[in-house]
Assembly symmetry: C2
Homo-oligomer: 113 residues x 2
């Protein structure tokens, strides 16, 4: 029995260049959990440099930064999501839920393959 | 003013490998119009070999072929869509219309970027 599935992906582009999508959602979520770009990069099997470049891009190319350096305190620094970063995760997640629900309702296309 | 947009893409995978998506939809549609794999390949700026390999994959990896050789007659051969091929174009098109309509309704995510 063959495994057949419908895959849906969604990205936000700015000036024709990818700005946000599944990879950055994962990175943002992992930074939110760990408070650390290094830990998030490691969890994704990605170099720190690549993760940092993504964070820098997310912080500079949009209207407002998605991430911000956390000030010292008990945990001694780290990185956290801005209000915009949180809203991005929430709205992108909602959008993906809706898209996946459309895909589920149209599963009969798989009967053709 | 930056150009901001939401991009949605959809593919059908068989056993974890792409079987149908935007590129093959275009190829299938162009073969349907022209009756020719060579003309369709040229229109897409793709080598004949690559187009032929895609056609072969679409004809062998699913349940039924999506394309079939047209028998001689006035037009002297060529390639045409099978009933399954036509249904695939129609249903994939419908699915993409629905996905794009969800994206349009959720355009407010672009206010974040």
């Amino acid at each position: 029995m063959k495994k057949k599935e419908i895959i849906v992906r969604c990205w936000i582009d700015i000036d024709g260049m990818r700005f946000f999508g599944p990879g950055r959602l994962e990175l943002l979520s992992l930074i939110d959990e760990s408070g650390s770009i290094a830990k998030a990069a490691k969890a994704m099997g990605m170099s720190y440099k690549k993760a940092w470049d993504m964070v820098d891009d997310m912080n500079t190319r949009g209207k407002k930064p998605l991430l911000v350096a956390r000030k010292g305190g008990d945990k001694g620094g780290g990185t956290e999501l801005t209000d915009t970063g949180r809203k991005m995760i929430a709205r992108y997640g909602k959008l993906m839920t809706k898209l996946n629900s459309i895909v589920e309702k149209n599963g009969d296309i798989l009967n053709l393959v």
